[in-house]
């Protein structure tokens, strides 16, 4: 294990937290510690949490802090190696063979190789951050394949040989925990479970992310959203929804709507499920009044 205590001038979790703040991301101690340890120990960072707690955003912010390009691999059920690693451009190879006629031609040259996210990050480990998003949606086979990639950081392409990373790439994995990940994958990574932020922190996030929201509005929205998250909803509002709600309410208010009414009319940006809306509708007034108090 190669330990590097200092990454681009960041030498402690606190320093990383400050740097993330400049990238408009407010991390708590746990996340800052885990992310710093991941970078310093050269291990992938695995972020788990409910949808909408800012896992993907964290990866973007880390890439911004390191000044690197973010390569995103979105997982889905049935994702396979060719979508994640590389593919050959078959039609082009076909054409090349036909055109070559009598000459010899290397149909496995660079021009015929289509780079996919994982290969791209191996080839430029010092200028990219690889984000493997929603790994829980991929299937077990892909997870096993990923495990191999994360331990050696190399890919063998049968026709061309092995591609190795010159240094360990920075990798961030996220999971919504729709299924349990394999233990081995969790072991290989530095792990952090992201909770919803505290009301205080979330209000600061809303104010930082939204263009022009008054502090009172942000606090009211965050209080209301916090209450909604405790209800048995099918889709609890995430942080992005809180930001949108504050923005929308502010906009309606600027156009002349009264306060509690502005919140109520813009509920559609926070709750995006018809059932949840009907479930909450009878208590919505009380809930908003409480939150705005």
């Amino acid at each position: 294990m190669t330990v590097r205590g200092n990454i681009v001038g960041i030498d402690s979790p606190e320093a990383l937290e400050r740097a993330l703040r400049t990238a408009y991301y407010l991390a708590d101690d746990g996340l800052a510690t885990a992310a710093y340890l991941g970078l310093a120990l050269g291990k992938p960072l695995l972020l788990e949490g409910a949808p909408g707690v800012g896992k993907t955003e964290a990866a973007k912010a880390i890439a911004a802090v390191l000044g690197r390009r973010l390569i995103r691999l979105q997982c889905y059920e049935g994702i396979d190696a060719s979508a994640a690693l590389y593919e050959w451009n078959y039609p082009r190879q076909m054409l090349a063979i036909r055109q070559a006629g009598e000459e010899t031609i290397d149909i496995y040259g660079e021009t015929f190789l289509i780079e996919r996210p994982m290969l791209a990050s191996l080839r430029a480990p010092d200028s990219t951050v690889l984000l493997i998003d929603e790994i829980d949606r991929a299937d077990q086979e892909f997870e096993a394949f990923l495990l191999e990639f994360l331990s050696d950081f190399q890919i063998s392409i049968p026709e061309r040989g092995t591609v190795r990373a010159a240094e360990r790439p920075v990798v961030v994995l996220t999971s919504n925990r729709t299924r349990d990940l394999h233990e081995a994958l969790r072991r290989r990574c530095v792990y952090h479970w992201i909770e919803y932020p505290t009301a205080e922190r979330e209000a600061r996030i809303v104010m930082m992310r939204a263009s022009s929201v008054a502090e009172a509005t942000a606090r009211a929205v965050v209080a209301a959203v916090g209450k909604l998250r405790r209800e048995p909803l099918s889709k609890a509002p995430g942080i992005a929804e809180a930001v949108d709600w504050a923005e929308a309410a502010t906009l309606l208010h600027a156009r002349g709507a009264r306060w509690p009414d502005a919140f109520k009319r813009s509920i559609g940006v926070a709750l995006k499920d018809e059932e949840d809306l009907t479930f909450i509708s009878s208590r919505l007034d009380a809930l908003i009044a409480e939150a705005a108090a």
Partner: protein, 372 residues
């Protein structure tokens, strides 16, 4: 370990903490211990909180066992006994009502000193012999036929086929290289089929007492017959028993499940249990696109509207929702209970769940045409 490792004194306390975690059932690999020590060295001597966070990041305790991790940490590093046992419950169990304070997780428990009540219960569960060999036959039939007959869905991957919607350019190219660039035959691809997820919800309340044992055996057989089976039990609580049932030997698996479930033969609040199931996003998503099977008599003590609402949600999420009740044994079955009448419109099948053979027949028929 034959020889005593000479650890630096400072490191010993951290390594022994890992040992404590292992004793309490946390899986920690040696590489994680190394990472943990490296992390503490990196962070320097700051505070206990930094050590706790370093442990969380590198030893990766599962989130639902976070409370246990925190308590062990406090015991080890602070030595405090001022620990609040409430809230130290694993997330795999969702309580539906306050039933006084449950026993908190016994720390440092091993198989020998488990509480007598649980042990007796586990034994009772294991000791009962099959009422009839018909059950055994039905389970054997399930294990044998399930892999081929359970519903499948189309996967994303493609496989070679004689006929299919796509051309297999990769194979065609390879062959054409052998034939100097001539394409003699165009290979085809079609989408591979994958087994569908199955979600089994088992009512373990008092009114289902006669069926509970057999239902658990059936769940175990099904878990091993096909991949992607999730099993929950519900009564006054909702408990996920999937992991316990993954143990290969049936007796072991059933007693492991008996350990988890603490509401055998109690009351029922089906509506609340299903609502609780849907409210945990991780659980709720198990139902998406799955064949959902509920084994319950629908004798609801709670509010029928909660049940109706939950079943409606579940049926929209599921690929097919089957409700198997022991009350539907006769062919001319008409639902009598209020709850069953209410959910009849919402489920895809409302059929006999009175015997293992009947349940197995239905499960094996899931892959065929959907019920009208």
């Amino acid at each position: 370990m034959s020889e005593e490792l000479q650890l630096p004194r400072a490191a010993r306390v951290f390594v022994s903490f890992v040992a404590l975690l292992r004793v309490n059932g946390f899986a920690v690999a040696p590489e994680q211990t190394t990472a943990f020590l490296a992390a503490i060295e990196l962070l320097g001597p700051r505070s206990l909180e930094a050590i706790r966070l370093a442990g969380l990041a590198t030893l990766a305790p599962p989130p639902e066992r976070r409370a246990t991790y925190d308590r062990l940490f406090d015991i080890h590093f602070i030595g405090s006994k001022a620990i609040d046992p409430a809230g130290a419950e694993d997330e795999e169990v969702v309580r539906l009502q306050e039933e006084g304070r449950g026993e908190d997780e016994t720390l440092l428990a091993d198989e020998a000193n488990e509480s007598g009540l649980v042990a007796a219960r586990a034994e009772a569960l294991v000791e009962r012999r099959f009422a009839a060999s018909a059950t055994g036959d039905a389970l054997r039939r399930l294990s044998r036929e399930a892999p081929a007959r359970l519903p499948r869905r189309r996967g994303h991957r493609r496989m070679r086929a004689r006929r299919g919607p796509w051309a297999d350019l990769r194979r065609t190219l390879r062959e054409s290289v052998r034939n100097d660039g001539e394409v003699l035959r165009l290979g085809r691809l079609k989408r591979r089929e994958r087994p569908r997820k199955v979600l089994l919800l088992i009512d373990v309340s008092g009114s289902m007492k006669g069926r509970t044992d057999d239902n658990m055996k059936l769940a175990h057989a099904l878990s091993h017959a096909v991949p992607h089976v999730e099993v929950f039990t519900f009564g006054t609580r909702l408990t996920r028993v999937t992991r316990a049932l993954r143990l290969k030997r049936r007796e072991q698996a059933l007693s492991a499940a008996a350990h988890l479930v603490s509401d055998w033969d109690g009351g029922t609040r089906i509506g609340d249990a299903l609502q609780a199931f849907l409210a945990v996003p991780r659980f709720g998503s198990y139902a998406r696109g799955a064949a959902v099977i509920i084994l319950s008599d629908g004798l609801e003590r709670g509010d029928p509207s909660a049940l109706q609402d939950a079943v409606a949600k579940l049926s929209r999420r599921a690929w097919r929702l089957s409700w198997l009740t022991p009350l539907a044994a006769g062919p001319g079955f008409q639902p009598q209970t209020e709850a069953l009448i209410a959910i009849r419109r919402l489920v895809d099948d409302l059929v006999d769940g009175g015997s293992t053979a009947a349940i197995v027949s239905h499960v094996l028929s899931l892959g065929q045409r959907k019920a009208a």
